[in-house]
């Protein structure tokens, strides 16, 4: 899962990127509205943490522009402006959630998880496919109840496939969603992660659809 952090205060941007990275997300950062707009248009972003007081293009204008263009990526507004009138404007502008500064990082993480889960149409917080369960709240993966240790990239691959279970996900799409833009990508590494996941979770969990990509079957 890839998150875009659009925040002009460098310290806060760094803190958010670190905390999100620790929580298992790939993080792209933007210090102004133009950069955020560029990243949203060109990259596969799964959720946005958006400050309203951005230089060049303010957050609310950006948000309205994205929604008018039919971009429905989940957006969490994180702003110093916390009056109810401003919250109504933010939500009516197309935001999915609104938090005011200062904030608790755990709450940002919890709300982002809920946004991503709802956006991919999953009702329960814990994702389950056959014997494998993934809890985005704790980042724990279990097979038949036994905990499995995954590296952060393995976790991102599994998390993306499980959020979109039942659908074929191409190698290119997986690459887009597990790496931030700044990362040097190599689509061959996806094959490596898939191979390691199969070793850790059992070979039947992730199916290869020849010429198209990978799929985790929808099973209960």
């Amino acid at each position: 899962m890839r998150i875009l952090v659009a925040e002009d205060e460098p310290q806060l941007r760094r803190q958010l990127a670190e905390a999100l990275g620790e929580a298992g997300y790939a993080v792209d950062s933007a210090a102004d509205g133009e950069r955020a707009d560029y990243l949203i248009q060109t990259e596969e972003i799964d959720a946005v943490v958006l400050d309203l007081g951005l230089p060049k293009i303010d957050g609310l204008t950006l948000l309205r522009r994205w929604r008018e263009a039919g971009l429905f990526v989940p957006v969490l507004i994180l702003t110093a402006r916390g009056s109810w009138h401003e919250k109504v404007q933010g939500i009516d502008g197309g935001a999915d959630d609104y938090m005011s500064k200062p904030f608790r990082m755990e709450e940002v993480l919890a709300r982002l998880r809920a946004l991503i889960r709802r956006a991919s149409g999953n009702a329960s917080p814990e994702l389950r496919c056959g014997a494998v369960t993934l809890d985005p709240r704790t980042g724990r993966v279990r097979v038949d109840g036994a905990a499995v240790r995954l590296t952060s990239h393995e976790f991102r691959v599994l998390s993306y496939l499980m959020h979109h279970r039942g659908r074929v996900v191409s190698q290119a799409e997986l690459t887009e969603h597990i790496y931030a833009q700044s990362f040097n990508r190599d689509s061959n590494t996806v094959e490596v992660f898939i191979a390691r996941l199969r070793r850790k979770l059992g070979s039947a969990v992730i199916e290869t659809v020849r010429g198209l990509g990978y799929r985790i079957e929808e099973r209960t």
């Binding site: 806060l12 110093a80 916390g82 009138h85 109504v88 939500i91 009516d92 200062p102 709802r118």
Partner: protein, 321 residues
């Protein structure tokens, strides 16, 4: 001869003396014509009475406009109007124009001050967010200083929110002649709160009449209803109901939830500044105190009661606009 009264007195004495000498001559003339043209004395009396009445009415017209000026000034002071309306005698009109210009400048100065207070508050919040994250990280590593800084940041945030809302409320009295639809505000807030409490799936029902308007700025109505509805959503089990009714010159808005409610002994307490009914629930502890202060600025009131739905009922009364 500096006082207006002595000038008026001397002026009217001179005027009367002149008038008496002229009317004396007229009197002699009328006596002569009376003999020549046989004028009916009743007609003369009637004519004189009509002229005197007309003079009185004419005078009263002038005086009543001064009286009207007083009423309009009271309107301004009590916030029903933001300038002195109407046209006045030419001696008074320049004064009224100057007064209106002064009122305009004052309003602009207050608006600028509130905007500055807002900038100050928002300028502080981002650095506070940075400090709060560092403190939380320190606390995570067992630092006592981290925990202490975290608590203090939370206190600062509340102080900023509370005083910013107060600054806005204090300025609210100067903007008059406003009408704000209760239904519009409730609709916007319902959309927002459904998103913010999406995980809990609270149902918000609105039974607010479309023609109920209040004399409150939209931002302040949103702030009051937002705090009340947010509280209701936070404590409700499944349902929050908003309704409104007209009581003479007031609009009463009631917000009911089906949550655990609040014991009567605590209801007054939570309306006081800085007290939280439930320390463990997240959110602003000053919320209800801000609602109370804002309501009072506009000449309204807030009260908490038991709700027929089982939880708490908040009842906000505001002047009709």
């Amino acid at each position: 001869m500096r006082s207006l009264r002595s000038r008026l007195l001397v002026g009217s004495l001179l005027w009367t003396a002149g008038l008496l000498s002229i009317s004396h001559m007229l009197f002699l003339l009328v006596l002569r014509w009376h003999a020549v043209f046989r004028i009916n004395p009743h007609m003369v009396l009637l004519g004189g009475a009509v002229l005197m009445l007309a003079g009185l009415l004419y005078l009263r017209g002038g005086v009543s406009r001064i009286e009207q000026l007083r009423v309009r000034l009271i309107d301004v002071r009590e916030g029903r109007s933001n300038r002195v309306e109407g046209t006045y005698p030419s001696e008074v009109q320049p004064l009224v124009n100057d007064l209106n210009a002064l009122l305009g400048e004052r309003e602009e100065a207050v608006r600028r001050a509130v905007a500055k207070a807002g900038d100050l508050a928002h300028g502080l919040k981002t650095p506070l967010a940075v400090i709060a994250q560092e403190a939380a990280r320190g606390e995570g590593m067992g630092s006592e200083a981290g925990a202490l800084i975290g608590q203090q940041v939370e206190r600062m945030r509340r102080q900023i929110d509370y005083h910013l809302a107060h600054a806005r409320a204090g300025a609210a009295g100067t903007s008059a002649g406003i009408h704000c639809s209760v239904a519009d505000s409730v609709d916007g807030l319902s959309r927002t709160l459904r998103r913010l409490h999406a995980e809990r799936g609270i149902v918000i029902e609105s039974d607010v009449s479309a023609d109920h308007t209040v004399r409150v700025r939209r931002e302040d109505l949103d702030e009051m209803l937002g705090n009340l509805l947010d509280n209701a959503c936070r404590f409700a089990r499944v349902r929050v109901v908003v309704s409104s009714e007209q009581l003479e010159k007031l609009i009463a808005i009631t917000i009911d939830d089906d949550g655990p409610g609040l014991p009567p002994s605590m209801r007054d307490e939570v309306l006081q500044r800085g007290v939280r009914a439930d320390e463990s629930a997240p959110g602003t502890g000053f919320g209800l105190a801000i609602v109370r202060d804002l309501a009072e600025v506009y000449g309204g009131s807030i009260s908490l009661e038991g709700s027929p739905a089982g939880g708490l009922r908040a009842r906000l009364q505001l002047p009709q606009g």
